[in-house]
């Protein structure tokens, strides 16, 4: 054997532990004919081990080298460089992973690949996986999660609506008519009459903190606060339809469920990289992801709302009145417009949304 003949002379003086006693024995180690041979310097006794059965240490610059021998023995050497030179002379090869780890250029390449992979997973991988998962998820699960969330809101933040039942019914009716009209128009134009998803409209009174607001939960529950109805129902009733259409967009694209899944996936991803080091630091990417993905979802829902309004013969620019009123309200309350950087804002900037709905 070629390897055996060339390596026959490479000998290493090392320590051998037999696994029963803590006492080291000085041994000579060498490799030949596919076996590792140890000869004790004390009593000249010989031991032999098949090379494949030995757990060899990985090459590294620091630390000691220990080879685990079959039968519980341990071959130990304090100086890594001497061991590595002997291992190489004996024909033992590093694994591919070790060669990557011991080379700065390859480590730099691994870093670049990691950055590329994280970016790719963030931009495409996570949304794609969430899409697939949402498609597979039974509707009942989503409904259950939505019902759970709604009862949580009802417990903590919402109270029964103070609006007259007639007004609630009128708003629901107005929205249902717009939906029917839009559906008929879309079918007539051959754009495929995809049925609107099932939804349940709830009116609730909310505290000061929530103000005029509407939101959609997984499974199709849409909640609108009394304050929002009072803000718009008299002067811009069609803006309420637009807002409900926006929320229906969330329902249609299952944004609630996707958000739960995507934020969870980013959290896991961050945990992979940052790990146990600090839950606080690992939490930051998850929060940022929530905001960033949320902005994408808002844009998607705005697009649904705008198309629906066009199909139902409602001018999308009625939404401008809503944005103006919200802005005025915010100014009155004394909050600054953009106190937090965009990365943490869950909605796109108002200016962008105004342009979107105001465009002819």
């Amino acid at each position: 054997m070629d390897r055996a003949s060339s390596a026959a002379t490479a000998r290493l003086q090392a320590h051998f532990f037999d696994g029963r006693s803590a006492r080291p024995q000085r041994v000579q180690a060498w490799v030949s004919a596919g076996r590792l041979h140890l000869q004790s310097e004390e009593d000249q006794s010989l031991r032999h081990f098949e090379l494949q059965e030995v757990q060899w240490p990985e090459r590294q610059r620091h630390g000691q080298r220990q080879a685990e021998l079959p039968g519980g023995g341990l071959l130990s050497h304090h100086d890594g460089k001497t061991w590595d030179a002997w291992a190489q002379a004996s024909g033992l090869r590093d694994s591919l992973t070790v060669r990557w780890m011991q080379s700065w250029p390859y480590a730099a390449l691994a870093l670049l690949l990691c950055l590329g992979l994280v970016t790719g997973l963030w931009a495409w991988g996570v949304p794609w996986a969430a899409d697939r998962a949402v498609a597979l998820m039974p509707g009942a699960v989503e409904q259950q999660i939505g019902a759970q969330a709604l009862s949580w809101f009802d417990e903590k933040m919402l109270k029964p609506s103070q609006l007259p039942q007639a007004q609630q019914n009128a708003i629901a009716e107005r929205f249902a008519q717009a939906l029917n009209k839009a559906q008929a128009r879309s079918a007539a134009q051959g754009r495929g009459a995809r049925p609107w998803p099932a939804y349940r409209l709830h009116f609730r009174a909310a505290g000061e903190a929530m103000g005029p607001n509407a939101f959609a939960l997984p499974g199709g529950d849409i909640v609108m606060t009394d304050a929002l109805v009072q803000l718009l129902d008299q002067d811009s009733p069609q803006a309420l339809v637009g807002i409900l259409a926006h929320e229906l967009g969330h329902v249609q694209h299952q944004h609630g469920m996707r958000m739960v899944l995507q934020a969870g996936m980013v959290g896991t991803l961050a945990g992979l990289v940052v790990g146990d080091f600090s839950a606080l630091i690992a939490g930051v990417p998850a929060v940022m992801a929530q905001a960033a993905y949320s902005r994408d979802f808002e844009r998607e829902s705005d697009a649904v709302a705008r198309q629906l309004m066009l199909d139902a013969d409602i001018k999308p620019n009625v939404m401008l009145d809503f944005f103006d009123r919200i802005e005025a309200l915010r100014k009155k309350k004394g909050g600054s417009d953009n106190s937090l950087p965009i990365a943490f804002a869950s909605h796109p900037a108002d200016a962008e949304r105004k342009r979107f709905f105001g465009a002819p």
Partner: protein
């Protein structure tokens, strides 16, 4: 398992290997020798190992993690020199992979169950509580049984019953809290009538009272719980014929808790008071709001950066300085100030480099924490012999630990 403390001859229960057993003398006759612990790892080398591990973990969507973990532990062990001889790790990635999958499935179903319904959440929580001490013990058995020094394996001999008893002071108030919340609030329907609203508010008040009592109980019992857990751990380590024991009265843990409370938690409380004073000021003047926000965030970070390492340093010193075995006496002299400064530096650089500094931080922390520990040895190490046959675990429990391959914490 306590033969080593009670028997006069610590070698009495070792499996005889003729020549060693015959030569064994009483350790008391030898002078005391200090075994120094040194850490020789390098941040830049660990960085290269880490980045390749991260890449492979990302490519395999996390499935490589147990393999990465074996490599990481082996690197840290090969660089941890006790009296000049490195520790060795013998864990095999595949058994650890099984344990990893099981743990992920367990945690995943727990997270999902609590989203699904309160009943499922409560059941999953109770199930996790019921399994945790056994898993925790299996993890320690696995880690220690796969850690070697001078060719001999360490071991963990705490029994299952004691593991559950050790967790009792944590569990009782926590389970009471969980069950109370479930029965008081779990099945609440949205209130639609004034009577329901009144009932709901009464339930809320009761829940708040129960939560408060349970919260105080958890806080008050925490040092005792910590004492139980640490005692269970440090009474269970063994190596060769040596079995460790921890002689610390529970009041020492209360002393530690009180000091952490005064130094770490009191400032947080004061920040809360400060916030309560400052926030109304900011109400009419939106321009100072960001400053208040940043001040509160800094106070919050300060709380984690100071009280965390302070607690860890004090706990390490307290517990390890109280640990001994017939021939060994451990001590730890970790200066809390050093660990706090190191933690602050690690956090800052990790945040600034978007976590690329993490491997350097891990190496620096390991060095500081390991090198502050020392061991005084009485006797001749060369005469120490293994307790059990190698390659075999000495109890069925250890085999279970091997199967699960759990490994928690560093």
């Amino acid at each position: 398992m306590s033969d080593a403390h009670t028997g006069a001859d610590p070698f009495a229960d070792t499996i005889a290997v003729e020549d060693f057993a015959a030569a064994a003398s009483r350790p008391a006759s030898s002078p005391v020798r200090r075994l120094k612990i040194a850490f020789t790892g390098s941040g830049s080398e660990y960085f290269r190992i880490w980045i390749v591990n991260v890449l492979l973990s990302l490519l395999t969507l996390g499935l490589y993690l147990p393999f990465a973990k074996v490599r990481r532990i082996k690197y840290f062990y090969a660089n941890t020199l006790v009296d000049g001889e490195a520790l060795s790790f013998h864990g095999r990635p595949w058994p650890m992979f099984r344990g990893f999958v099981l743990l992920v499935a367990l945690m995943g179903s727990y997270a999902l169950a609590s989203k699904f319904s309160p009943t499922a959440g409560l059941l999953a929580y109770l199930l996790l509580c019921a399994m945790w001490p056994a898993l925790w013990r299996a993890g320690m058995q696995f880690r220690l049984a796969n850690t070697g020094w001078r060719g001999l394996r360490f071991g963990f001999s705490g029994d299952l019953r004691s593991a559950y008893l050790a967790f009792l002071p944590v569990y009782l108030p926590a389970i009471a809290l969980m069950v109370a919340q479930y029965f008081l609030l779990g099945d609440m329907k949205p209130a639609t009538t004034p009577e329901e609203l009144a009932k709901f508010e009464a339930a809320m008040k009761l829940n708040l009272a129960v939560s408060g009592v349970c919260g105080l109980l958890i806080l008050g019992l925490a040092p005792w719980a910590l004492a139980c857990i640490k005692r269970y751990q440090h009474n269970g380590f063994h190596y060769a014929q040596e079995q460790t024991q921890l002689d610390l009265p529970t009041r020492r843990f209360y002393g530690l808790g009180l000091r952490i409370f005064l130094i770490g938690i009191l400032p947080l409380f004061l920040t809360g008071v400060l916030a309560a004073v400052l926030l109304p000021l900011a109400k009419g003047r939106p321009e100072i709001f960001p400053f208040v926000f940043v001040a509160l965030l800094l106070a919050y970070l300060f709380f984690f950066a100071v009280s965390g390492p302070l607690f860890n340093a004090r706990l390490q010193n307290l517990v390890w300085s109280g640990t001994r075995s017939p021939s060994l006496q451990f001590d730890s002299r970790l200066k809390a100030r050093h660990l706090i400064l190191l933690t602050l530096k690690n956090w800052l650089l990790t945040a600034l480099t978007l976590s690329l500094y993490r491997p350097f931080a891990a190496v620096a922390t390991a060095r500081l924490r390991l090198e502050s520990v020392g061991v005084d040895l009485q006797g001749d190490l060369d005469r120490w012999v293994s307790h059990a046959r190698l390659g075999q675990s000495d109890t069925a429990g250890e085999a279970a630990g091997d199967f699960f391959g759990f490994d928690m914490g560093w």
